[in-house]
């Protein structure tokens, strides 16, 4: 009774910040949410991405599910000896009893493996750097001990009863052979009935006390996920590539009326984001995949959650009873640092990996919105932001020069100006391809591919503004809205039926952030489609002696699930030798980030691009093919920084295809 009361009290306190938090819209698309629960929670779909840890977790998780019925019935048995869970009287009960004996055994074995990993192997991703506080190994081992105690006491409770019954010649339930309980029973057969009685009662109390202690211990630390993960998965983000609105329930045109923007204090987070904090199991998979963390930037997504949770616990104290909730302070400068929040490239690797659907991008963007609102923007970003405001591109180049790249096109390739002519298709070029000397080649290649495939296309020219993908993700929502409105008007005025872009950042913004536009396609999809239809025919690469690898741009792959089209486009070039890097597809490693990230000057030990280039070399490739101008900038720079000129080259997919057009 006391256990239940304490647990209820703790849970009530834990609910408080969720109630005070910002609104969130998470009760839509219920069938999809149920599917997510079945896949991610029940089937533990993402767990085996880390094989051993994943399998061990599945063993413990499955065991818990099976044994939860037993643990609950044991509580009631304490009150009424002859209690049987409704429906478990007959065959089902017998099957269940065998199942649970094995489950307990399996959990104990899994605990032993987990304890060995935690205590002896100590995988890198569990380590806690000194600046983030104390190591969490003790808590992990303590909980493994609790679980083991539960398993052993339950089995002993069962075994002592069966052993006593066998000795007295009474009806004894059969225990699952070679299970933990079965071993105990075999060992206890010669023990006196009185001792068995004592063991039976003692283990019952040990089990029940441990059970309630464990229950109340869960919401005090990282094992809260045992309770919250089900809900966290149910409420997890369904769409990808998008960014949450500044505030749910506020329309874009009413944003000006908001008092404050973004997250500044704890309660400015949405309730789902605080639930994320509760749910973090501290497994470190996010940070293990985070490129910013890998190159020594001051960001580790895991600690975004852990620090958030620690603060929530601190501000909403459980002990002593009746403690007042603490007043929230600014998060930036207390638990989070400016550089930490600017370090994120929004590549999405952390969210892709999290087994229980914890979100980071929206939190980072919300924190940035708060910083932008308070004027806390690094000088390196203020210049490009001002230039975007004035000229619609981060370099502050003249609008009238936006179409200058079309001055050098191969023979027979013409690009229409949609201000003067109409066309079916809009090629949305975006800023970097329009203005960067090197990247203009991507524009020329894309125009060539479109033209040779017989597409009737044109560009917006000086009416095109930056797509604003990073403006939004760097927290300058109102500037993004301005860009969005201008581009939307220009696109709709042009009367095109279809949009194509070779810039995944533009692709993502137009597809996921803009509303009411004609369908958007990335050039890799266009190529794959037209190779299939025969509109594009490619020469073979036979004899070029090169080994190609495809680098998945974050905003094409992870955020938009375009993995196959660029690969099939590459494979359409006969005789092209292609290898995969270990980190490919949804585990792709960010090149360093696009858009405004090109201007940010992070503290880091190494460039992400250099790490990526080394990965390509390790895979045995000497050409990195990418499908994003920002990836190309970063990777070409990285090849120089790594001193691999001559040994490694980088090329955009559109350029490679244009070279191989028949």
């Amino acid at each position: 009774m006391a256990g239940v009361a304490v647990f209820t009290y703790i849970m009530a306190i834990r609910m408080a910040p969720l109630v005070k938090a910002a609104p969130d819209r998470r009760f839509d698309r219920i069938p999809q949410r149920i599917f997510n629960v079945l896949k991610l929670w029940l089937a533990q779909y993402r767990q085996p991405r880390y094989k051993l840890a994943g399998v061990v977790h599945i063993m413990i998780f499955a065991g818990f599910l099976i044994l939860s019925i037993r643990s609950c019935s044991l509580v009631v048995i304490g009150i009424s000896d002859s209690f049987v869970v409704p429906g478990f009287g007959g065959l089902l009960g017998d099957v269940y009893n065998i199942l649970k004996d094995y489950a307990a055994t399996m959990v104990l074995v899994a605990c032993a493996i987990a304890a060995y990993r935690r205590g002896v192997v100590k995988p890198e991703r569990y380590a806690v750097p000194a600046k983030y506080g104390k190591d969490h190994t003790a808590e992990a081992l303590f909980v493994l001990g609790l679980i083991s105690t539960l398993m052993i006491s339950e089995s002993l409770f069962e075994a002592s009863s069966v052993a006593a019954n066998v000795q007295q010649g009474l009806h004894a339930e059969s225990l699952a052979p070679a299970s933990l309980a079965w071993f105990f029973k075999t060992a206890l057969l010669s023990t006196s009935v009185e001792t068995l009685q004592t063991i039976h009662i003692a283990t019952f109390y040990i089990h029940d006390l441990t059970f309630f202690f464990f229950l109340c211990f869960l919401p005090l630390g990282k094992h809260f996920h045992v309770i919250t993960s089900l809900f966290n998965v149910f409420f997890m983000r369904i769409d990808r590539g998008n960014i949450k609105p500044v505030q749910h329930g506020i329309k874009d045109e009413d944003l000006d009326n908001l008092e404050s923007f973004g997250v500044k204090k704890l309660e400015d987070f949405t309730w789902k984001h605080i639930l994320d904090f509760y749910s973090c199991a501290d497994c470190g998979r996010c940070s293990d995949n985070c490129p910013a963390n890998a190159v020594g930037r001051p960001l580790s997504p895991r600690f975004i959650s852990i620090k958030g949770r620690d603060l929530t616990f601190k501000n909403y104290p459980i002990y002593p009873y009746g403690s007042p909730f603490k007043k929230s302070e600014n998060l930036i400068g207390t638990i989070y640092e400016e550089d930490e929040i600017w370090s994120c490239t929004t590549c999405g690797a952390c969210e892709q990996e999290c087994p229980i659907g914890i979100e980071y991008i929206d939190k980072i963007v919300d924190l940035r919105r708060g910083m932008v609102d308070d004027g806390l923007v690094p000088q390196s970003l203020q210049k490009p932001l001002r230039a975007l405001e004035k000229r619609g591109n981060p370099w502050g180049k003249m609008e009238k020069k936006r179409a200058d790249w079309t001055k050098e096109l191969p023979e027979g390739v013409t690009v229409k100006d949609l201000a003067k002519e109409s066309a079916d298709v809009l090629y949305f070029v975006d800023s970097i391809t329009s203005y960067d000397d090197r990247m203009q080649a991507i524009g020329q290649a894309t125009a060539t591919v479109l033209s040779r495939a017989g597409s009737d296309f044109g560009i917006l020219g000086k009416k095109e503004k930056d797509s604003g993908n990073e403006i939004r993700r760097f927290g300058e929502e109102m500037l993004f809205q301005t860009m969005k409105e201008m581009n939307t008007d220009a696109i709709l005025d042009s009367g095109v039926k279809h949009i194509i872009t070779a810039d995944p950042h533009a692709y993502n913004a137009l597809k996921n952030d803009y509303k009411g536009l004609p369908p958007v396609e990335h050039i890799s999809q266009f190529i794959a489609r037209n190779v299939k239809s025969g509109a594009i025919r490619l020469k073979s690469a036979n004899g070029d002696g090169k080994v190609y690898t495809y680098h998945d741009p974050c905003y094409l792959g992870r955020h938009n699930d375009v993995y196959e089209d660029p690969r099939s486009a590459l494979d359409a070039i006969g005789g092209l030798k292609r290898v995969e890097m270990e980190r490919c597809r949804d585990r792709s490693f960010c090149c360093g980030g696009g858009g405004l990230m090109l201007f940010y000057e992070p503290e880091e030990e190494q460039r992400m691009g250099v790490v990526r280039v080394e990965m390509a070399a390790e895979a045995g490739a000497n050409v990195i093919v990418t499908a994003c101008p920002f990836c190309l900038v970063n990777i070409e720079d990285a090849i120089k920084v790594a001193g691999m000129e001559g040994k490694m080259e980088a090329i955009d997919l559109s350029e490679l295809i244009a070279q191989h057009l028949q």
Binding site: F261, D373, G375, R386, A387, K390, M398, T482
Partner: protein, 262 residues
């Protein structure tokens, strides 16, 4: 502390390609974008920080046309309390002394303990701050990169040769010209500007200020711009050739020879 910051709307050098127009009377202004003079941003940020520390208010002032209101708004979005626009057809074509005398008239209409300006403007000659101080008979410190408030006085610093720092004590009221790098000016977003979009900004003309229209503007200017032109190309730069190592070695040698490296 009541602080007045003098700011100026200038063509943004980072976002424009500056070209001289055909008859050499001005630069090509058709496609220009304008912003607050960079130094002035630092001056306003410093004023806001001082106000937040010791109390008082910050007023931003500029001499210009209707369009100059935009820069006042931007500085108010940053956190300045008031804006003041000195605007009159008679002010057009003022030289540095004309601008300084207009500012002097505005200072005398108010009550300010401290007047800040940028050390210079992107399109200016760095003369107004000093002239204004002289006209007001206020003490003046230029190129200030550090301000500490002391009782009725300020301690102001400036960087001197070799990265060394000099500190001076100066009596209030005074005029300071502010160097970039004194602080990190805060970001002003679209949202901030919209918030102050409807704030009334008072405008003062010649009669409001009590200045003689013939003493300012083109009529009163004693410095007149006579020409703009692109200088003839001098001798080209020396291109170092060879492998990366050779180029590096030559460069170091040259730098040593010219005293750039010790």
């Amino acid at each position: 502390m009541e602080i007045l910051v003098c700011v100026k709307r200038v063509p943004d050098t980072a976002e424009n390609e500056i070209e001289v127009n055909r008859d050499g009377s001005d630069i090509e202004r058709d496609d220009l974008v304008y912003s607050v003079n960079e130094w002035d941003n630092y001056a306003v940020e410093e004023a806001i920080q001082l106000r937040d520390k010791v109390g008082g208010s910050v007023t931003v002032i500029t001499v210009g046309d209707d369009e100059s209101e935009e820069v006042l708004r931007r500085e108010m979005a940053m956190g300045a309390d008031n804006g003041l626009l000195l605007c009159d057809d008679a002010f057009e074509g003022s030289d540095g002394k004309g601008i300084a005398s207009l500012l002097k008239a505005a200072v005398e209409k108010g009550k300010y303990d401290l007047i800040l300006s940028g050390a210079l403007a992107d399109d200016g000659a760095g003369q107004v701050g000093g002239m204004l101080a002289a006209m007001l008979d206020y003490p003046y410190a230029s190129l200030v990169n550090k301000i500490e408030v002391a009782d009725g006085k300020l301690k102001v610093g400036r960087e001197i040769e070799g990265g060394n720092q000099e500190m001076n004590e100066i009596q209030l009221p005074c005029v300071l010209s502010i160097q970039t790098g004194i602080n990190e000016p805060r970001y002003v977003g679209i949202r901030g500007i919209r918030k102050v979009a409807s704030v009334e900004i008072p405008q003062h003309g010649a009669t409001d200020l009590g200045v003689d229209p013939t003493a300012v503007g083109a009529a009163g200017a004693k410095v007149k711009r006579v020409d703009y032109f692109v200088p003839d190309m001098g001798e080209g730069a020396e291109m170092l050739e060879g492998s990366t190592e050779e180029i590096t070695a030559k460069l170091i040698e040259l730098l040593k020879a010219k005293g750039g490296l010790k």
